[in-house]
């Protein structure tokens, strides 16, 4: 294995690129999935879903800007969005699970956030998909960052 010389730099570059690219893939699939639920299946998004969209959709644009040409600083811009989105997703999950009581849920009219509209295999719900996606984006971005700092 090569540990010195320009080849190493090239390889960590490629790894960083692939990791950010993977994060973009996750964000894009999430965005298209959310649009499918909302626009095609016509399920109205609840308030918490809107906040999660607000933090997911910009990633689809910001991450590619960091890919061409590769700019590892993109992690600094993307990570805050992903973390905030993750917090909303976690809050939503706890709400659906009933851990957080009804009274402090922020949506009082329109679509109740605690309502489960989709349940695949008995446990996969939209907030779970969202939490998984945000976790994956965060993990991939953190990996990108740690690869580049070495």
């Amino acid at each position: 294995m090569n540990t010195t010389g320009p080849l190493t730099g090239l390889r960590t570059d490629t790894t960083a690129w692939s990791l950010t690219f993977a994060a973009w893939l996750v964000a894009s699939v999430s965005m298209l999935g959310a649009l499918f639920f909302g626009e095609v299946m016509q399920l109205p998004p609840c308030v918490l879903c809107w906040y999660q969209r607000i933090f997911m959709f910009p990633l689809v644009l910001i991450l590619p800007i960091g890919l061409f040409p590769l700019d590892r600083k993109v992690v600094r811009y993307a990570l805050p969005l992903a973390v905030l989105g993750w917090l909303f997703a976690a809050f939503h999950l706890l709400l659906v699970a009933g851990v957080i009581p009804e009274s402090i849920k922020p949506c009082t009219q329109g679509v109740p956030c605690s309502q489960t509209v989709i349940e695949w295999f008995g446990f996969v719900t939209i907030p779970l998909l969202s939490a998984v996606a945000f976790s994956a984006v965060i993990a991939l971005l953190v990996l990108t960052y740690s690869r580049s700092s070495k």
Partner: protein, 218 residues
């Protein structure tokens, strides 16, 4: 270079998957709603449903509507025009679908007016004054009354009928039927039992014309 190809390829692939999934979902939904309507034909019309046109007209348009719905208001004159063009052969049956919150109370007014034989003038008065009594999509039955003056309604009887059990049952029945027929938005039209493939005046016109042609051939 390779990375650019990978990125563009992935983006195109994702969009294609999205488009194909959308097309598949929509065509399945059209099939499903047609089958739904076929299976639940009995739910299309009820004895109480207000109707315009000849009872034996070959083309029957069933419309699920909400008096507070703006699109219903806009479509009403269009449907009337369609009927005026072929008075003998088109029948319009209205079904209540009060999906707006508070709209059920306005529907109760309509139903009570129907008992006095004043359904159509009341409906027209309500549509005409819709922005006044349903500001910002929030129907308020208290604002309805001034617009019903001059229709010759017996208001005392009307108020009694509004809170009658029978009225509530009629509304519940129509909402049940809407559910059975998979009606989720208003207005929703069925032409001789067939739902619109997707919403729009052109689609409704096409379905009615097809039904008229079919009636002609028979």
């Amino acid at each position: 270079m390779k990375q650019k190809t990978l990125f563009i390829g992935a983006a195109i692939l994702l969009l294609l998957v999205f488009l194909i999934a959308t097309l598949v979902y929509q065509s399945e939904k059209i099939d499903q709603s047609a089958k739904f309507a076929e299976r639940n034909r009995a739910n299309l019309m009820r004895m109480h449903s207000p109707a315009l046109g000849k009872a034996d007209a070959p083309v029957v348009i069933v419309e699920f509507f909400d008096p507070a719905c703006e699109t219903c208001r806009e479509f009403y004159p269009l449907v009337k025009k369609m009927m005026a063009a072929d008075r003998e052969r088109i029948r319009l049956v209205l079904r209540y679908a009060p999906f707006h919150k508070g709209s059920d109370k306005v529907v109760a007014v309509l139903e009570a007016a129907r008992k006095q034989g004043k359904f159509w003038p009341t409906l027209e008065a309500l549509f005409a004054s819709q922005p006044d009594w349903a500001p910002h999509h929030a129907p308020q039955v208290a604002l309805v009354w001034p617009h019903l003056e001059g229709l010759g309604l017996n208001l005392e009887q009307l108020k009694a009928d509004i809170s009658a059990l029978e009225t509530a049952q009629v509304i519940a029945q129509d909402l049940d039927d809407a559910r059975a027929l998979n009606v989720t938005m208003t207005p929703e039209y069925f032409v001789n039992g067939k739902p619109l493939p997707n919403f729009g005046y052109e689609q409704l016109k096409k379905l009615v014309d097809e039904a008229l042609n079919e009636a002609q051939r028979r």
